[in-house]
Symmetry: C2
Subunit: 336 residues, 2 copies
Amino acid sequence: MHGPGDVRVEERPEPTIEKPTDAIIRLAASCICGSDLWSYRGIEQQNGPTPMGHEYAGVVEAIGSAVTSLSVGDFVVGSFFASDNTCSICRSGYQTSCHHREPAAAGGAQAERMRVPLADGTLVATPAMPEAAMIPHLLAASDVLGTGWFGAVAADVRPGGTVAVVGDGAVGLLGVLAARELGAERIIAMSRHAARQELALEFGATHIVTERGDAGVEAIRKLTGGDGADSVIEAVGTHESMWQAIHATKPGGHMGYVGVPHGVSLDGVELFFSHTRIHGGPAPVRRFLPELIERIWSGRIAPGRVFDLEVPLADAAEGYRAMDERRAIKTLLTLS
Amino acid sequence: MHGPGDVRVEERPEPTIEKPTDAIIRLAASCICGSDLWSYRGIEQQNGPTPMGHEYAGVVEAIGSAVTSLSVGDFVVGSFFASDNTCSICRSGYQTSCHHREPAAAGGAQAERMRVPLADGTLVATPAMPEAAMIPHLLAASDVLGTGWFGAVAADVRPGGTVAVVGDGAVGLLGVLAARELGAERIIAMSRHAARQELALEFGATHIVTERGDAGVEAIRKLTGGDGADSVIEAVGTHESMWQAIHATKPGGHMGYVGVPHGVSLDGVELFFSHTRIHGGPAPVRRFLPELIERIWSGRIAPGRVFDLEVPLADAAEGYRAMDERRAIKTLLTLS
């Protein structure tokens, strides 16, 4: 990305093994994330041209001399932050706060090949080489599924509970799917967009609320006997969406926020009297990858349904435009 | 309180039963709360002269016609918010967000008598009439012990865990005691005040940290192998203390905040990347009262040790001065 709205596909140097813990992978497909739009829209500043993309799944082409758990030819999925998966923070399940955390795709994952640091701690191999139809689902596990899943876990979704989801992007929709998988009884998706409502219902939403802001909060309260939802997943990251999520939560309930915050400021008194438990942050996708891959492999979940546009990597600019204009939920970039 | 620094003891009308769910109690003792200092110092604005005090324990003198669980002559302890203790929010343990919540001591509890609304849902009777020596402990249960306890519960204190406590006022010190009772293995009290350090150690602190702010956070990290504490209790309520608490928490750990926030604003991005779980609010003391009274009654805990100054109610102004100047941790107001 050369600047806001300026996406170009260019030849770049081939990635190489730089450290003995690195791996090089050939991507099976790539994609564009809702969070890439922050810089596309100029809301997040960039310092010159920046390689984009942080979601990936593909085949290991080379490994450094210290990599022990992977072999060339393995099909792998990884998280957007590389982690050693052995430090005390990783062992407690917060690999995205690993003591040795670094970006997993510093060279960009909207590419044919990429270097992944800390390969042993970052990548998870699939049971075998997947069929082509499974690639989008595995790619979704790399971020949007893992992030929606963390949103549901951070919101303490439990069997029988009532969950509201703020945000109808890929992460919010997969938060709906995660809530269903974790046993929620009522799942309220907040969306005013027909195609997204439809996918939310397919993923397990039991109710759709089209109102936003205070009216949205009021609608959630009405559906929950005045209490608010036990669990609310926030998957946008704006000041308004955060407060909408907090106020839609039952006192003592949990709000899990996974939208990267932009311009969010939480007033202490208001938060205090809300009695909301809040937890969020960059999703420790690595924690969830083994079980997510298993659910995908068995055909139980189909998170790749969030990809409603496919373009060749060479047409990445059109993929960004479609998401920016909300013509697409999420764009898959195909590689030949 | 007639204005900042202007506390007067005056004759006021006797409280009477106004609603059938009310009770009138004769206080066995009263006290001054750290939160009363916000208005004493002019940080919180008051609209004209205001009856003060919200902590109470004493004998029921009269009950309304709808009160069924209490009798005249019972010794009771209650919370600063009255609650019905039957609504869905109360049943989930958040009585201070009760659908019918109201201040329990609208007429002030720094007084000889007071009216308590929703008596059945608000007051808890002791097993028998307590001896004089037990009064300060029971009075502490009404707020500072219950609030410190909630801080520990909100910070998810568990057997074997490491806990840090920000704030060495009565609530912070009783947060230390709560952490010990809940089985914490290491309890780090943050205090630079000799008498308070001593009481913290008596209540179960295993470490004292005298540094504040970034240096305090650094000290906690050093004591925890770089991770931060599993649980941090915030018992001050300033912007600085909130961030000190958040940054002293291990990623994925819990920060429980019970200091009423003043000038606190939490930046979304910083909170997001801290990975801290935060929970707090007005402590639902009613939830904990039965077990707190039991622990006091059996002699297991002595929370009234936080009272290090006793003055007659008539000298309340001196009680405020002593706390304002940090000559006293907490002032007991004796009644004749």
